[in-house]
Structure formats: C-alpha cells, structure tokens
Symmetry: C2
Subunit: 233 residues, 2 copies
Amino acid sequence: MAILRAKKAYAKCNIMERRRADCIADDLEGLIFDGTFADGERLDEVQLANRFSVSRTPVREALQRLTQSGLVEQIPRRGVFVRQPGPVELLEMFEVMAELEAVCARLAASRISDEGFKNLLDANKRCKSVVEAQDTDTYYRENERFHAILYRQSGNAFLEQECLRLQRRLQPFRRVQLRVRGRMSQSMAEHEAIVAAIGDADGERAAEAIRQHVSVQGEKFHHLIARLKPAAE
Amino acid sequence: MAILRAKKAYAKCNIMERRRADCIADDLEGLIFDGTFADGERLDEVQLANRFSVSRTPVREALQRLTQSGLVEQIPRRGVFVRQPGPVELLEMFEVMAELEAVCARLAASRISDEGFKNLLDANKRCKSVVEAQDTDTYYRENERFHAILYRQSGNAFLEQECLRLQRRLQPFRRVQLRVRGRMSQSMAEHEAIVAAIGDADGERAAEAIRQHVSVQGEKFHHLIARLKPAAE
DNA sequence: ATTGCCATTCTTGTATACAAAAAGGCTTGA
DNA sequence: TCAAGCCTTTTTGTATACAAGAATGGCAAT
C-alpha cells in the first residue's frame, strides 16, 4: 500500500527537504523580528513575491504560517498586517512562559532521571563558563539549552513542545534582556537555585525559583518596555 | 491612506466574512473528530477538492491550518496524514490543560473582580441546574462557559487564548468523559470547591482544586483509554 | 525467486490566470 | 466646502496549468 511505503520513507528521512514556502516563512519571521517590517504594516503579497522571486502562492502559504504563530494578523479580503505585541501582551506572554516553566520545574523535580540531572548540571556548568567570558550571545544559546533540558525533563513531551514554541516566540525580546549589565551573573545565580531545588526534589521551590527567573519584574520590566517603540495607536 | 481605512473597517466589522478555506478547515476538523478520516490516513487534496467542490487551493490552505493546530501532520512532498493523539499524548495534553487551568485559578483568586466572581457563581449555578436535569450536552456547554470565565478572570488575555485553544483541541475527548455515570455530580462538587477557594482568595487551594478537576486520574483514566481504538502501528 | 533499476503514473509544489471584493479617487449635488 | 455615490484601480481569493518529485509496477539480472 502506498501509505505504508510513505511512512517508511518518512521514518528514514529525518532531514526532509523544505519547500520554498517554509524558507520564506522563516525569512519573513526574521524580517519582522529585526524591524524591517514595522508594526501595523501591511505585507503586500505581490511585493513579497517579487522580493523572494517566487509567485504569490508560496508567499501566501508563508503568511498563513506566520498568522498561526501570531506574528501577523490576517484580515479576510483585506490583507495581512504585522502585529508586534504591545507592552501588555508581552508581559502576559512572559507571565505564561514563567508559569509553564514553573510547571516543567515542578514536574521535573520528581520525574528527572539521574542522567537528565547530569545533563542539567552540565548545561549549567557551560553557562557558568560563558558568563565569565562575558559573551552574551553564547550565553543566550547555552541558557536556552539549559531551559530546553528542563522542558524535556518535565516528562511531558506535549508540554515540552508548548514551551519551545513560546520560547521561540519570545526569543527576540528575551535576547535584549541579557544585555542589561549584571543580568548574566544574576541569571546564573537563579540557575543555581533552580538546580539545587530540583536536586532536592523540591518541586514547589524549583517552580518558584524558575518563576522568579523568567518573570518580568522590577528592573527587567523597565528595560523591556524601554525597548518597545512608543507605538502610536 | 489605505491602511487606515482598512483598520477602521476592521474595527467596525467584527463579523468578518469567512473564506472558503476557513469553512473547509472547520469541516475537515469535524470529519477528523468524528472518525470519518482514520488515524494515519492520507488526506488526498484532489479528493477533498472534489468533495467540497472547490479547487485544490483552498483545500491546501485548510490543510495547512489543521497542520498548525496539530490535527494532521504534513510531510513535504508526500502529503498530509491524520494524526490522532495516542493515549500517552492525550494524557500529556490533559496534564498541560490541568496545569494551565491551575495557573488561571491561582491568578484569578487574587485578580478576580466582584463582577467576575458574580459571573462565575452564576455560571456555576447554571451548571447545577443542568445536572439535575441530567442533560450531558447542555452540561458540557455550561461547564465550558464556567471554565472560560475562569480563563478570563486570570487577567491574562494571552493565557486565556492558550487555554481556549487547548480546550478546543481536547473537546472531543472531554465530552466522552461526562458520559460516565455520576461524573456530572462529581464535577459539580469540584466546581464548588474551586469557587469556594477563589472566594477565599486562596490561590493555591483553587489551583489544586481545578488540577484535580481536570486531570485524568483513577477511573477517568480507564474510561479515557477505553475509548481509544487499539491503534495498529 | 529476489533484488535492483527504470519508466510510468500520481501527487504535491509552484506559477499564472481569472473572479470577486475592497480601496481610492472622482464627480455631482447640496 | 463637504458628503455621498459611482467608477477605476488595486488587492485578495480561487481556479487552472505546469513542473518536479515520489510511488508503483514491470523488467532484467543474479
């Protein structure tokens, strides 16, 4: 049967070829993140098609994907518009991120395997070494790895995926936060608290620790909204 | 300017006309839920186009949307396949739902307005009256309303949306649960506990109460997996 | 008989053509 | 001067045509 053969082929081929539409979606995401397309701006299908030297079809597919991930808003028969989150929505998203990670931490505290804990310690060690080098970009990557391990160790693959999805969405805003002076070492201290709590299998403490780590409060709040353009609306 | 006029029109027009692609997406969702398309089955674009009497274009758009919401899996150049969650994934999703609602409850306990609390009480009252009539379908709707109010009262619109999204995804499975004998009255008792905790502004207690209410444990576990076909793989 | 290769047939992905709807501008009337 | 209605232009939504890749079946070689 055709389907069976297809399934076999799929299982074998993890690196599946990408379609143009997918690439365009990623490129557009980047262009929105880096501000090439401002908030509220309409994304013209024809212009984009020319820009990427493709027809409107893959452009439309890409725009649909961006709609689903919330980067743009699609208004039927009127077009798609860039939709940067405002301060309120951003705080809300960070709050949800903090709570989701808190859940991960709480679950991980009782579910983590010895090997998983070793991975977590290792990831944390790598973060530490980067802090000393004051390399924010590398720290960002290693920090992401640390969090990803935590998601994984929640023992809930669906939760893991949801966390990764939101993490990805918040990435451009999170990155900024690290530039703040002293933030990296503070972040590391928080990591230590999280690891310790998980080591003690104290779910509630771990949850609270990571909630503090992720949530936007105090100085972080100011730095975050300072970054946002005073979007007229 | 064109955009301004578009925005004005959008603000005015809440009931925006839907495109065929959107309708098809909804229809397909229903067909997958009710088992017309079995798990693992390939959805042929041409067949679907004929079925809905449209061209492949809107069908493809609909399929893309279903891909995003996780109902089907799209394998580049090979087609899209129905992807029903297995027992494990289902339990994981319910766990996440329980935790998300727990967050809502905890936040709502301190953020709920007097009017919001009144709405919650009202929704609960309506549930109660339906329980006495033993009307599972209506109970399901009223129950959904109760939960939706809770999401809203978390004071976090993003969280609210995420909850609604997952609730929608779990809908067909949640519905089944209610058919279990005595489940409705048990559900009501749990509602009472939730409302009471929120009334006392006791976030942790409210969170725990709703976690118990939503999570799949004990008998509920058996009933849930009993419903799942022994999917051959 | 089985395995590997090739050709045919289907299916998906992309381009283009066409239809329908909305935006912008113009005219006309007060 | 302003507003309302109509017409033109622009833009989105859908259909169709075409290209590229994958599945299937047959054939040949071992």
